[in-house]
Symmetry: C3
Subunit: 203 residues, 3 copies
């Protein structure tokens, strides 16, 4: 729930900055919070998607909208805690997404791909709706942290060295730590095009 | 069908203004007319989606394309009737979308969310394909009218004060009236960001 | 597989040109290669989608990323062979997409629409993620070739003049030939808006 809330806040904040109206802000908060999970549920055949049936998500989105609209200057200053919650949400969504796919009897690759999708899908849909290139494709170790978390879940469930609960906890901690370290030290994946530009400059 | 046609016309007109070719115009007309319904059918497990199996939709999209391409100056002048049909389509899609979700045994929240999705989904996909921020997120009481219509359908079916047919008729009339009044008097939902800008100006 | 690879290369090249990072390039290569098939599988109820369960696709996407990043100047010069593979992929995806829909017991219209979707869906998602109007909607006989291939598959399976294998081969050849001819002679579908502009100029 903390993760859903952080995701909803990030959606509402982005929507507010683009001058959307109240409905738009609420729709975007809901989309970021539930979009990834809905895509996952469609792909594994969990119909109707949990994001639509469970009213908690909708309430969280509405509360996040209320807070973002009512206390916007405060929310803007709270950038750091929001990023923290966002990292919590990322880890939780990646791990639970991968576990749910395994639970529905799908293989490891499906679980990894859908773990990532659950974690980053909402953010991608948000960026598409606001017509910008999804930020996760451009920079920062974000989706990669989700990938690592999902891989640990899948490996853990195949190797069965420890119980499923411990696997989930380890995956959560690794994913969260990697994301926080990447934020702290501005780690980025290499961008091939930039390397080339640098080379061009050296010539 | 009138609603599908109005939606297809709106898609074809938008496509034509962006210099798409014949296939693009037809694809966009079809997308706007059926996109919302297809997303709804995927979410409630009505597979394959009605928009794909029923050739009426495709024919309507092709006819709308033909009319838009052949008589573009006329269509542009018919802005008012097209908006009227569009409001009819909005109401019909919202009400039938919510009813179909209930009919498939889903709960009220799913029905409300999918009623809105059916009504506005096509327009959102159109705006995404033409790379602009979906207009329904920015202004005007459009999705909100669909929301109201879907809520009436769900409440009516729970409370059972009147028969399901009457519920649908009341929801249609309320949704249509709200949309027409919003068009007539330029009602908008409040946009928080603008309010803030106004405050800044006063300082 | 040749088609998947060509599609993945086209995705990776587009992503690299937009300065995405390694993860983004790989994600886009995978999306272009599998996006159309995943949408098709969701619509016909083949869950989980083949693109997610079959690890071949993922490996192809990763290899395509590696090649594009490692040998970018070479790939850029290979524009012609990539277009050739792309035409192969287009034909294969359109025909197999239509066949799979028929195989799942859906009617001819579903098969035609999903054949096109399989063939062009990945490219449309790529353009949406890179925030540009999908190129297939604007120019060139691309989706139209896929449409023709899918129509031949459906007609062939209804009329049963020749065996299903021959139908597939004929559809492949027609679709591929049309695409190659369109590339060679720069055939475009008429764009109504441009015609009008021309008329205006003559006045």
């Amino acid at each position: 729930m903390a993760g859903t809330f952080a995701f909803a806040i990030s959606g509402a904040t982005a929507a507010r900055k683009r001058n959307l109206d109240l409905f738009g802000i609420c729709a975007l908060a809901f989309t970021v919070a539930c979009g990834g999970g809905i895509i996952r549920d469609l792909c594994i055949g969990a119909i109707p998607p949990a994001g639509l049936t469970n009213w908690h998500y909708l309430v969280v989105a509405i509360i996040a909208t209320g807070i973002t609209v009512g206390f916007f200057p405060v929310v803007e200053k709270l950038n750091r805690p929001v990023l923290l919650f966002d990292a919590v949400g990322l880890s939780l969504f990646a791990v639970t997404g991968a576990e749910k796919a395994l639970h529905y009897g799908h293989n490891g690759e499906v679980a990894i791909l859908l773990g990532i999708t659950t974690a980053v899908g909402g953010g991608v849909v948000r960026d598409i709706l606001l017509t910008r290139v999804p930020v996760i494709l451009e920079k920062e170790i974000y989706a990669s942290a989700a990938l690592l978390g999902a891989v640990i879940v899948v490996l853990g469930n195949y190797l069965k060295w420890v119980s499923a609960d411990w696997v989930a906890i380890i995956a959560l901690i690794v994913c969260f730590t990697l994301r926080i370290l990447a934020l702290r030290y501005h780690w980025n994946l290499p961008t091939p095009a930039n390397n080339k530009t640098d080379l061009d400059k050296q010539k």
